[in-house]
């Protein structure tokens, strides 16, 4: 039984509950019935405008904190229909002034929903701005918004790494629905801008403004400040990147070649210090809405400026592949380090020859590598067979993406029986093993892959994942993510063999194919390998891969010049300039010129 004495108190509780509810209902009545008109007016679509404020995208810095990509304020012409749709006259006038097709403007109006402004043209010049501002009466419903516009400070520098941004397409919008993307948004389309779009984009803000009948703001009802996107600190070293680009541009001009790529890695971590692809493009063109003319120029270029050749371009590796063939032969015991093999200029089973008709006589492994002797490596291929070659190629990471944080990376191809069966429906022939052993035939690599191969040699056999971003920080400088070296695998090769290959590669720059460029005077000990890859489509591609300092390497360079001819003449001069920049060496010739 409930104690009787306090039953009265429960009655009081009942009454309290009733009072509470009736107070609330009374309050509702006051808000909704008595003051309802006022609030209805405020909420009415005719009186409230949402003026969005676009969040500035995150900034890119190089590894030393140098500003690479930022934002600048730009003026955007938008339509903000107030009481009536925008009149045909105004659209006519705008179309002429902005040089935007009327059909285009109508399309944008039709596709738009919601109460926010319809963006017609971004980043207008000061002349257009002045005209619209001065003749406001002639442009009712036209507003000028200030928006941050992506600014690639060094124009086309590292364009393929940074990528570019532009307005989200219908396809992307459909795919990314639910992630907060809206039509008219700016989105990263390529490069790091694409990969880290989510982190970079920030959160748009806006102002909710009460306007009077003429559209003049009366009071601000709400404001959400835009939150800038997170900043990226890249692994790129601006200094090396600039030198690499300049060296490539000068060299291409000199030898009349059109396309090239270069990658600079730190073999101890996998950090990418520079990445160049030529021809390039200016990403600023996309940021302000690319014109048809500019787009045509980029798109019609036969050398595909939009491809990042360092990761997308697939080329026969040529002589640099001999490193892999050599390691395979030594590891499998198919040849001794000091075993001498006779090079008569052509192989005795299949009459395949050295380039330029060379014949070196009795040679050992190191000499063969330094002089890039074909006959010696044909014989290694002969002894190994294609399956062993394939195994070692894959051990080095070829035939698969390196996993770098950039879009559109290619797999490359390691020559193998299954591929030939599948594509050509044919058996494997010994001559194809010969071709594979010197990096020709079916073998294909990207410049980045071959740079990774060279890193594995330089660091004693560890395969790191190449990466471009060191750190993501929020606008206040707080670290959101730190990127650490990521080990993907280790070579199953004895240290002695790697050391032997290192010695062979060292001789390339002292007595071998790159000796004439480096000679005795180069102040840092460099190991390298040149290559001249046969190209069925035209002139040979030139390769040069190198690392240094020889005793404790922290720089790996890979250079490819498309249709550049001999690697020693096309790619080595570029690689040398990059190495000079990386090691802070003043080129005596340049010094003399000054």
């Amino acid at each position: 039984m409930v104690t009787k004495d306090f039953k009265g108190r429960l009655k009081i509780l009942s009454i309290t509950v009733m009072v509470v509810i009736f107070v609330l209902i009374a309050r509702l009545g006051f808000l909704q019935v008595y003051d309802g008109e006022y609030y209805a007016g405020l909420a009415d679509g005719n009186r409230i405008r949402l003026i969005p404020a676009m969040a500035p995208r995150g900034i890119f810095y190089d590894r030393n904190g140098t500003l690479l990509v930022s934002n600048r304020p730009g003026f955007t012409v938008s339509l903000l229909p107030l009481t009536a749709p925008i009149s045909e006259d105004v659209i006519d006038r705008l179309s002429t002034l902005l040089k935007v097709d009327k059909v285009e403007i109508h399309k944008k109006i039709d596709q738009h929903s919601g109460f926010d402004p319809i963006r017609i043209k971004t980043d207008i010049g000061p002349e257009v701005l002045t005209i619209i501002e001065e003749q406001k009466e002639a442009y009712p419903g036209v507003v000028i918004e200030v928006q941050p516009i992506r600014n690639y400070i060094n124009m086309d520098m590292a364009a393929h790494v940074f990528g570019y941004v532009s307005e989200i397409s219908d396809d992307e919008l459909a795919k990314r629905k639910g992630e907060g993307y809206r039509s008219g948004d700016i989105i990263g389309k390529f490069g790091l801008e694409k990969v880290y779009d989510k982190e970079l984009r920030g959160t748009d803000g806006g102002e909710q403004v009460e306007v009077d009948v003429t559209g003049k703001p009366v009071q601000i009802l709400g404001r959400k400040e835009p939150i800038p996107g997170a900043n990226l600190t890249l692994t790129i070293d601006e200094k090396i990147q600039k030198v690499a680009e300049k060296a490539i541009d000068e060299q291409l001009l000199k030898i009349h070649a059109k396309a090239a790529a270069a990658v600079v890695l730190n073999p101890k971590t996998g950090e990418v210090l520079a990445m160049v692809s030529r021809p390039a493009f200016n990403p600023n063109l996309f940021a302000r809405g690319i014109s048809n003319k500019d787009w045509k120029m980029i798109n019609d270029n036969p050398n595909f400026p939009l491809d990042n050749k360092a990761i997308t371009g697939e080329y026969p590796p040529g002589s640099p592949f001999k490193i892999i063939t050599g390691i395979a032969a030594l590891s499998e015991g198919k040849v001794g380090p000091d075993e001498m093999i006779f090079d008569s200029g052509r192989h005795w089973i299949i009459p395949k020859v050295n380039s330029e008709g060379e014949a070196l006589g009795w040679i050992s492994f190191k000499m063969a590598l330094a002089h890039s002797d074909n006959v010696y490596f044909y014989e290694m291929g002969n002894r190994l067979g294609i399956d062993k070659l394939e195994k070692y190629g894959r051990m080095f990471g070829l035939g698969a993406r390196t996993g770098i944080n950039l879009p559109y990376e290619s797999d490359g191809l390691v020559a193998n029986r299954a591929y030939k069966r599948k594509v050509f429906d044919d058996d494997w022939y010994l001559s194809e093993t010969f071709d594979a052993a010197i990096g020709q035939g079916f073998n294909l690599v990207t410049p980045l892959q071959i740079a990774v191969v060279m890193s594995e040699i330089a660091n004693g056999g560890i395969r790191y994942k190449p990466y471009l971003v060191k750190q993501i920080t929020d606008p206040n400088g707080q670290v959101l993510k730190d990127f650490k070296p990521e080990e993907l695998g280790r070579l199953d090769v004895s240290p002695d063999i790697i050391a032997l290959v290192q010695d062979g590669l060292r001789e390339v720059t002292t007595v071998g194919t790159a000796a004439s460029s480096f000679g005795k005077d180069f102040p840092v000990k460099i190991a390298g390998k040149t290559g001249t890859a046969e190209n069925s489509q035209g002139k040979d591609h030139g390769w040069f891969i190198a690392y240094g300092p020889f005793d404790d390497p922290n720089i790996v360079v890979a250079v490819l010049v498309e249709q550049g001819g001999f690697g020693s003449q096309s790619a080595v001069p570029i690689g040398k300039k990059i190495l000079e920049a990386a090691f802070g060496i003043v080129n005596p010739e340049d010094a003399a010129q000054k």
Binding site: M1, L13, S14, V17, Q32, G36, G222
Partner: protein, 355 residues
């Protein structure tokens, strides 16, 4: 009572559907509704299952539940995930739990268990002190999270229950007086954002773009609903995303905007029926433990309704207190439905009036 609860939950599902309609892509549009609906059904079944057990056995678990409660609240401090500046959630598999929600109902059971034999014996400050201390520990833990709203709910439950337990009225008045006198001291312990909320409540124009935003938007939403509302899915305020948290804490604003004064008042009448029945169950309970449980639950629900609706209509400061059975949130829904289950349990075993 069951019909009232069912009606509120159905309204809730419809409004959550409307509130989350626009801002969610089509394939996930009904995710919130589905989730809330599924948990409502699960809880409903659970209630009917638990009705087989006598609520009186809960009395023996009072202390054990109390300890469990403390452990849970400490766990959330250590393991909890922080969101919006407060550490309130624990992630268990796909479900994020908000222990402070569950701790309310546990607190009611524990308090009822120790108050049961003290009925009518709460006449001096000394009598009250142990019970206040008993409440104080979890109260401070919740306050520390920081979750001012839930800690205030604890106070409301406490006051309701000692009132029903026959506390000396003069003593209660004195405590109130002392409490008010202590307010300036308490002020110093509030976080900045909490201070701001209270200042904004006094005058929303202090910070119309920041902290005052919620109140202004919510008032516009409700006010513009007028007598009959703008119709489901027709609320411009809520649909255009001006009103944040519109499916959780500010769901009442959506009701007000879309269903108007008529709809919102009907909802409040439903709450009145629910609360009135709750107190009636207390009066008819077969023992003091049941009476105290029912009072505690009714106080909790009443305080929630008052503070939440008061907040959305601008007569109470903003605290993160959900509207019982309406706001989206699995923890809150479960707590409230369990409370209703206990009320039903007490009702089933009420004293039989013999004529």
């Amino acid at each position: 009572m069951i019909a009232t609860v069912a009606a509120i939950i159905v309204i809730s599902l419809v409004i959550i559907g409307s509130a989350t309609h626009i801002n969610t892509p089509s394939d996930e549009r009904y995710w919130f509704v589905q989730r809330q609906g599924i948990f409502a059904i699960i809880n409903g079944l659970l209630i009917f299952f638990l009705l087989n057990f006598d609520y009186k056995m809960l009395q023996h678990y009072g202390n054990r539940l109390y300890i469990f409660n403390l452990v849970m609240l400490v766990a959330v401090m250590v393991l909890g995930q922080s969101a919006l500046g407060a550490q309130r959630w624990i992630q268990i598999g796909p479900i994020t739990l908000q222990p402070s929600e569950f701790s309310k109902i546990i607190m009611i059971i524990s308090l009822a268990a120790i108050l049961e034999d003290k009925i009518g014996k709460l006449n001096t400050f000394k009598d009250l002190l142990p019970i206040a201390a008993y409440l104080g520990v979890p109260f401070l833990l919740v306050l520390k999270q920081p979750d001012l709203g839930t800690s205030l709910v604890f106070l409301a439950i406490f006051v309701g229950m000692i009132f029903a337990a026959g506390v000396n009225l003069r003593l209660l008045a004195m405590i109130f007086g002392a409490g008010i006198a202590c307010l300036p001291v308490l002020w110093h312990f509030l976080k900045d954002y909490q201070k701001m909320r209270i200042m904004v409540f006094m005058d929303p124009n202090v910070d119309p773009l920041g902290s005052g935003y919620h109140i202004i938007q919510s008032k516009i939403a409700i006010g513009s609903g007028m007598l009959f509302g703008k119709g489901l899915f027709g609320g411009t305020q809520s649909q255009l995303n001006f009103l944040p948290e519109n499916h959780t804490d500010f769901i009442f604003a959506v009701v007000g905007e879309e269903l108007g004064f008529v709809g919102a008042a009907i909802l409040l009448i439903l709450y009145l029926i629910l609360l009135y029945r709750g107190v009636k169950i207390a009066r008819e309970a077969s023992d003091n433990f049941g009476m105290l449980l029912a009072v505690g639950i009714s106080s909790m629900l009443a305080f929630h309704v008052l503070v939440n609706v008061g907040m959305t209509t601008g007569i109470m400061p903003v605290t993160g207190i959900p509207l019982p059975l309406m706001s989206y949130g699995v923890s809150s829904l479960t707590t409230n439905m369990m409370s209703i289950g206990i009320l039903l349990n007490i009702y089933m075993r009420r004293q039989k009036i013999l004529f």
